[in-house]
Every structure is written in structure tokens, then in C-alpha cells.
């Protein structure tokens, strides 16, 4: 099975060396599924970006740049939302990972002066195994008032993105019908008549006159070939789309919102992710790496301290080493 999760979420096989074959397969499937959903969403974002680019610039190169830009921004934002929600439900691991002082405190009195790198690795591995054995059961995360704010921000971000993408894809879906409506607007005698009125200040036609002129300005010239939509204006295109679709637009927007929210809900609520062995192993690995570097740092500290104690007299600040005096 291709490991798509590796490229998006860093789902490496090495993390799952200690787990059963069934669990490994299940985790691989879950992260592959999530990565696939993520890629689908990013593809939709790129397509929407191209559509917006084509309407604004009527040029394929600029449209593709727009698509890549929107795709890139969406990639970062969605990944951020996914990662923020990927917290392990193994409470002790989560606690230790976010506050490593507890782990380090256990080694405060140890003498690491003569310890080798291999021995440091062994201590780390032992701690890792101990934590792995002790954390077999997952716990539902405790509710905190701040969760409301963070969840609201995350959901709003996803919904804003979904709304943006929904409009772009809907324009693409109904482009022919929108173009037919825009042709109707271009040929409308009523609009042309209102637009042709000059010196209409302070009359009730004031607003209509401006809107009519603007409308005729933003539809492309009759002879011009257009790339996708027969207008330079996203606003006019959306107005036409909105009027044409009516309540169906609400339904389509809702479907897009759901499409963007499902992976988010999945990551947050399914135990395959937050209670899964991958996040547990990632947390263990993180703790082990931090502990390893703590031990190495402590070793260096203790060695330096030993040299200082031997070579310096703290009371007098006088150097007593003959070697140095002779030098």
C-alpha cells in the first residue's frame, strides 16, 4: 500500500515497529485516507484559484499563478488546523511532552560525567519503553473554557476557506449559464438606457445610473474572446450566480462546508487519530529525543563543572594550575 501519509503528516513506518500488523495496517489506512482527503481539498483550492484568476485577468498564466497561490495558502492553513487537532489522548504522554521538566527531574541526581553516548541512548530507550508500557489506555481530553475559543477560530477559518472555494467551483460548474446571463445583461436595453443618462445628479436614478455604467464596464466587450467567464468582475459573476441558483446555492455552499469540515471532525473526534498508536509513538519519540539531548547536555555541564572545580578556587579567583602559570 502506498504510504501517502508520509508526505503530508510524516507518517513513517519506523514509528510503528513495536505495534501489531493489524494496528499498523489500520493506522496506515487512516492516515492515507486523511492525506487523500487533504489532497482533494487542496486540488479544489487550486481549481478555485484558477477560476478566480481567469475571471480577473482573463489570462491562463496569471490564473495558474493565482491557483498555485490559493492552493499554497490553503495547504498551509489546512495543515495547520489538522496538526493543531492532532493531540494524543494518552494523557500522561501529552502532559510530559508539554512539560518535560517532570521527566528531567527524575535524573537530577544522576552523575553523567563518564557516561558514553551508547549508555545515554540506553537510558532514553528504557524510559521510552517504560512510558510505552505504562500508557496503554486513552482518556477523553478534559474540557477547558479556552477550547471554545480555539475551536471557534479553527472552524471559522475552515468555513471561510470553504466559502471561498465553494464560490470558485460553483462558477466553474455553471459557467455556461452565467455567461448566458451576462450576455443578457450586455444586450439589455434597459441597462444601456439608464447608463446613457448624464447629469442626473440628485435624482433617484443616481444610484441606478452608476450601477448600470459599472455593470456595462465590467462585462467583456462583445467581440472579445473570454477565457471562462464573460466578465472581468467577480462581484458581477457572483451576483449572477447567486440570482441564478437561488436557494440551491445555499445547499451547495453547505455541501462544501461539510466537505471541508469532515476531515477536521474526523481528526478531532475519531480515536484512530488522537487515540491511535502513531501519535503515541510520535509523542514517545519526542520525549525520548528531548531526554537524550538533556542527558548529553547534563554530561557536558557536569564535565565542565568538574574541570572548573579542579582548576579554580572560587574564594580567591586565583588560578592555581601550574600549566597555565608557566604558559
Amino acid at each position: 500500500m502506498m504510504n501517502l501519509g508520509k508526505y503530508i503528516f510524516g507518517f513513517r513506518d519506523e514509528y510503528l515497529n513495536k505495534v501489531s500488523e493489524t494496528e499498523r495496517a489500520e493506522q496506515t489506512y487512516s492516515y492515507n485516507m486523511l492525506s487523500l482527503m487533504f489532497l482533494v481539498l487542496i486540488t479544489l483550492c487550486i481549481v478555485a484559484g484558477i477560476v478566480y484568476g481567469l475571471v480577473i485577468f482573463q489570462n491562463w498564466i496569471f490564473a495558474i499563478i493565482c491557483g498555485l497561490l490559493l492552493g499554497g495558502v490553503s495547504f498551509i492553513l489546512l495543515l495547520l488546523v489538522f496538526f493543531i487537532n492532532m493531540t494524543t489522548r494518552h494523557a500522561e504522554l501529552y502532559q510530559k511532552m508539554t512539560n518535560m521538566k517532570e521527566v528531567f527531574a527524575e535524573y537530577d541526581d544522576h552523575d553523567f560525567t563518564d557516561i558514553s553516548d551508547e549508555m545515554a541512548l540506553q537510558i532514553t530507550q528504557q524510559k521510552k519503553m517504560e512510558l510505552r508500557d505504562r500508557n496503554q489506555v486513552t482518556e477523553t481530553p478534559k474540557f477547558h473554557a479556552s477550547n471554545i475559543i480555539t475551536t471557534t477560530i479553527k472552524v471559522t477559518l475552515v468555513l471561510v476557506l470553504s466559502c471561498l472555494i465553494a464560490n470558485g467551483i460553483e462558477i466553474f460548474m455553471f459557467k455556461n449559464l452565467i455567461n448566458a446571463d451576462i450576455a443578457e445583461i450586455r444586450n439589455s436595453e434597459t441597462i444601456k438606457k439608464v447608463a446613457s443618462i448624464n447629469n442626473d445628479s440628485l435624482n433617484y436614478l443616481e444610484g441606478k445610473n452608476t450601477l448600470a455604467k459599472w455593470t456595462l464596464d465590467v462585462v467583456t466587450e462583445k467581440e472579445t474572446t473570454f477565457k471562462m467567464i464573460d466578465s472581468y468582475s467577480i462581484l458581477l459573476t457572483l451576483e449572477t450566480l447567486d440570482r441564478g441558483l437561488g436557494n440551491w446555492k445555499l445547499l451547495l455552499d453547505f455541501l462544501f462546508a461539510l466537505l471541508f469540515l469532515v476531515p477536521f471532525i474526523l481528526v478531532r473526534k475519531s480515536k484512530r487519530y488522537s487515540g491511535g498508536v502513531f501519535l503515541k509513538e510520535v509523542a514517545l519519540s519526542d520525549i525520548a529525543t528531548s531526554l537524550m539531548f538533556y542527558i548529553l547536555a547534563q554530561r557536558k555541564c557536569q564535565q565542565v563543572k568538574q574541570i572548573i572545580t579542579k582548576d579554580y578556587m572560587y574564594d580567591t579567583y586565583i588560578k592555581v594550575s601550574k600549566d597555565v602559570n608557566q604558559g
Binding site: 485516507m33 482527503m37 448566458a180 446571463d181 443578457e184 433617484y204 441564478g244 455541501l255 469532515v262
Partner: protein, 302 residues
């Protein structure tokens, strides 16, 4: 992993792929007409159609005909009222003629009284219709007062000017259109109404275009017919949008005000002001809170 969680995972994944399937299906060039209505854009185009400008709705009147006037409104309790009454076109035209020939250099209180007198038959027709309706509905006390005033408040405000060609204009923080009609958006404006930019009650009853004094004098005339101690009050008001300017309100004495506050003393009687310019649930007897400044008020007709 629990069965519940497996089900949740499968259901969520299925929803995602199902929605994606629907979206991809809609990308196909079929079935789209069912979702998209091309007629809607034609409705939008209609917004650009030019409206007919109504310079003078009395222009079509002919002497000798009887016309039926309908008046419907809701009072402060949101109870709906509706009356219909007949007036002679001749009477309306006579009132208009009386106004246009009137000597403008007169005390404003006298102008109001004279305009009420020249509209007597039309006001009486409206009073009779209201009286029948009030009796039928068995309204009493304050309900009768509210009934009369809300009827006058309900037609949208129309700006009245005595100079020709003054509409359209920008004044009092609003745009006034060259349209002498009680427009629902409240932007109607009537040009060249002499003297003193006030219509006679007969003209107001017929075309329902009026500003503060046009409305106040009809409300006053109806109150008098219902035997209330009423008056036409004139003074200065202002809010944050408009500069202090002359304003006209209805005054009622001998009745406890709903919002106690301002009052005008005249011949030993206390008249409480009542804003009749437009309908608003807070524009009740005694309330002048819609005005930041309220000064130099006096009774001009009672």
C-alpha cells in the same frame, strides 16, 4: 478500537466521498438547468427601469365626480384599521384653489384655521367613517386618540417646499427626489406648494402627501371633531442630523401623556406635544425624545 469508533470513521469518510461525488457529478454538463434559473437575471434588470415621476396627483381630478378614499393603518398595538369614505372631487379641487389663491402674508395660525375651514366637507367625511369604525370596535379613551393619530402618522412623510424646482434636493441629511408622492422610502418631495409649504387637509386626505404641518392640522381638525381639546403647536427642534428649524406638532390637553415631559401652556391649559409626522411605535403622546433640542414652542391654533 471500538466498533462505535470504526462506524464513526466509516460514516465520516463515506460522507466526504459522497459529497465529493455529488460535486463531481454536478461538474458534468447535464442536469444544470434544474438548479439554475435564467429568469432571475431578468428580474434584476427590472431594477434599472425608470420610475414614473408624479408631479401632481390632483391633475386628473374633474369636478362633479365622487371618489372613494381608502385608508388603512395599524395602531401602536398593531391592531389593523381600515376605513373607506366618499368625497366630492369638486371639494378637493376647491380646497386646492383656495390655497393657491390664498394671501400668504397672514399669521400661520390663521392659515391653518382657514385651510381647515375650506376642507370641512372632506374632513367631515373622514370623521364620519372613523366615528363609525370606532363605535363598531367600541374603542375608548386613549385608544380613540391613538386610533386618530396613527391614521395620520401612517402615510409616509413627504417633504413639501414652497419654491418651484426645489426638488430634487439634499436636505436634513436625506436625498429628496422629484416625486410628489407618499413614497414608501420616505424620499418624496413636492415643489411649489404655496403659501407656507402646507397642503389643505382635503388635499392631504386625497393624495396622502404631507409633512409636519399638513399632517398636524388634519390631526388637530379630527381631534376637534371628536371633542378633544387639541391645538396646533409650532416651535423649533433639532437632532444631530439637522440644524434647528421650525417644526409643527399636534397638542392635546386634558389627557394624561404616555411619556411625561414637555408641555406648552396656553390660556391656562397644558398641551402635550404629539409627533404626527410619521408612524413609529415610540411616537406617542408627550414623547419628544426624538428631538435633541425642543424650544420656543407655542400654540398657534386651538
Amino acid at each position: 478500537m471500538s466498533i462505535k469508533d470504526k462506524r464513526f470513521f466509516s460514516a465520516s469518510s463515506s460522507v466526504f466521498w459522497l459529497i465529493l461525488g455529488i460535486i463531481l457529478f454536478l461538474l458534468l454538463p447535464y442536469f444544470k438547468n434544474g438548479f439554475y434559473s435564467e429568469n432571475k437575471i431578468k428580474e434584476w434588470e427590472k431594477n434599472f427601469e425608470q420610475e414614473k415621476i408624479r408631479k401632481d396627483s390632483l391633475g386628473n381630478l374633474k369636478k362633479g365626480k365622487t371618489i372613494v378614499i381608502h385608508w388603512s393603518w395599524k395602531d401602536y398595538k398593531k391592531d389593523k384599521h381600515e376605513i373607506s369614505f366618499s368625497v366630492q372631487e369638486r371639494d378637493v379641487l376647491n380646497a386646492k384653489g383656495y390655497r393657491t389663491r390664498y394671501n400668504g402674508f397672514n399669521f400661520i395660525g390663521n392659515i391653518y384655521s382657514d385651510f381647515i375651514n375650506c376642507s370641512e366637507s372632506v374632513i367631515d367625511a373622514m370623521y364620519q367613517a372613523m366615528n363609525r369604525d370606532i363605535a363598531k370596535k367600541k374603542l375608548r379613551d386613549m385608544d380613540v386618540l391613538n386610533y386618530i393619530v396613527t391614521a395620520i402618522q401612517t402615510p409616509p412623510y413627504t417633504k413639501i417646499t414652497n419654491e418651484k424646482g426645489e426638488c430634487p434636493c439634499k436636505d436634513m441629511g436625506s436625498n429628496w427626489l422629484d416625486d410628489c408622492y407618499p413614497r414608501p422610502d420616505g424620499q418624496g418631495c413636492c415643489n411649489g406648494v404655496v403659501p407656507s409649504a402646507v397642503y389643505t387637509p382635503a388635499e392631504f386626505i386625497y393624495q396622502k402627501t404631507g409633512d409636519c404641518d399638513t399632517k398636524a392640522i388634519l390631526a388637530y381638525a379630527l381631534m376637534k371633531k371628536f371633542k378633544y381639546d387639541a391645538a396646533v403647536l409650532v416651535g423649533f427642534t433639532s437632532n444631530s442630523i439637522i440644524d434647528p428649524g421650525a417644526h409643527c406638532m399636534l397638542g392635546v390637553a386634558g389627557v394624561k401623556p404616555v411619556v411625561p415631559g414637555a408641555k406648552v401652556r396656553h390660556s391656562g391649559r397644558l398641551y402635550y406635544p404629539w409627533e404626527v409626522t410619521s408612524f413609529n411605535p415610540t411616537f406617542v403622546l408627550g414623547n419628544i425624545n426624538m428631538w435633541g433640542i425642543w424650544r420656543d414652542w407655542e400654540v398657534v391654533t386651538n
